[in-house]
Point group: C2
Chain length 257, copies 2
């Protein structure tokens, strides 16, 4: 089986033009089939400010109302996604930008209203791999932003980490799939104040122990849940750390079954 790399980059890469450019230059050189997934960065918040669109929150969690969804669609699928595609093309990487609506690739359902109505937020129900497989076989590189759709004409704001893990799971039958979460930390840390305290390997058993010992930082919990969800669904390996881990042997966290 061929290896497929599903690589997610976060705001710390997207928000810095030079860092992004260097990353995309290196990304273009990866020989294996690959899919890039990007988050939104600070640009959406800045645009909302400029347009006087209020960021609505309930219990500290953001609500995606209609004006916010419009901004997200413009920034994620427009400015960021097409900027990345153009820069990849400049590096001879034949990229094609995607939301989950394009090619009906990622179908989601508007999150049901319980205590809170999160608005146009999508929970992923299905990944259709046919179109993406066709692209990969023809040396085309899909670049996904964090937007899905409900098959009824509604776009939905969807967590980019979750999109990356669900894509990795979707392709696990056809490829030996490796999932990479690139972010600003060197990996999962034992002590969030000590960048050297990287836990280099975590398996399911260790993860349970770490959870019991309350060692996993709050911000890391949803990311690790995505990782283990992927691992439990045939994804071969998950890597968490700085983007450099993709190109050189540097310390980071590897997650295995």
């Amino acid at each position: 089986m061929n290896t497929l790399k599903v690589i997610k980059i976060g705001g710390n890469i997207i928000d810095n033009e030079d860092v992004l450019e260097t990353f995309l230059e290196q990304f273009s050189k990866i020989a294996d089939p690959k899919i890039l997934v990007h988050g939104g960065g600070k640009l959406a918040t800045r645009l909302a400010d400029k347009m006087n669109v209020e960021v609505k929150k309930v219990d500290g969690r953001r609500i995606t109302d209609k004006p916010t969804l419009d901004i997200i669609t413009m920034v994620y699928a427009g400015k960021i996604n097409k900027g990345i595609v153009a820069k990849l093309q400049a590096n001879q990487c034949n990229a094609v930008g995607f939301t989950g609506a394009d090619g009906n690739t990622i179908i989601a359902k508007k999150r049901p209203v319980k205590d809170v109505d999160f608005g146009f937020v999508g929970d992923i129900e299905k990944v259709n791999t046919d179109t993406i497989k066709l692209l990969l076989k023809n040396n085309l590189i899909p670049v996904f932003c964090a937007i899905t759709h409900d098959e009824n004409g509604q776009l939905l704001n969807t967590n980019a980490d979750t999109i990356a893990s669900e894509l990795a799971i979707g392709f696990a039958k056809d490829y030996k799939t490796e999932l990479y979460y690139c972010f600003e930390k060197s990996g999962v840390l034992k002590d969030t104040k000590d960048d050297a305290s990287i836990i280099e390997n975590i398996n399911t058993k260790m993860y349970k122990t770490l959870l019991e010992q309350n060692i996993i930082a709050d911000g890391m919990l949803p990311k690790l849940n995505n990782c283990f969800h992927a691992i439990q669904n045939e994804v071969y390996k998950v890597h968490i750390g700085e983007p450099e881990m993709l190109f050189h042997k540097i310390k980071h966290t590897t997650i295995l079954a």
Copy 2:
């Protein structure tokens, strides 16, 4: 040879949600392979107003400076393109949104500065058909917005009518290609004040006569130049009129060699 329909819709369809929805519903039912090309409508201007980005003009012609290009990318490739893709998906039409950067499909060059620097405006140099042919063969429907790229990482604002004619020309070797310009008029009119004065057929010889007689309205001239450029480059037929011409036999202008 199979027929390919390249269909361009303008602002009058995009700016009215109900009209757009009805159009996309009917578009989805077209049995032939098809490509949709859309302009921008009034949304970009409205967003520029909201963001206090000044529309710059020289001799009445718009200049695409960096902030304007960002707005165009957000509105055309983001909001409008993905909105159309999601609505087509709701009609079981497996659409994929494109700029010319995606799949390196349309390569342009920044318009050279002579008297006026038009900014990030692209003149098309080449259409790469491979990726789009792959999609069409697999029943995927490309939806193009009016943005191209220069292969060096720069997105460029490009006239949607020209994108449609260059795409039609690009596919003329592989398909019997028909180009449709859908707009608010019933066709090319002898008398712009009389909607019934449609010229139903124009060929190259007649076009020359019409030009000599000064019958073609100023706004129609660039459109007709695009039409004849297409006809002179192996495109089978060009149609100009209301979108209804696609679905029912109604009077409109047909352009033939």
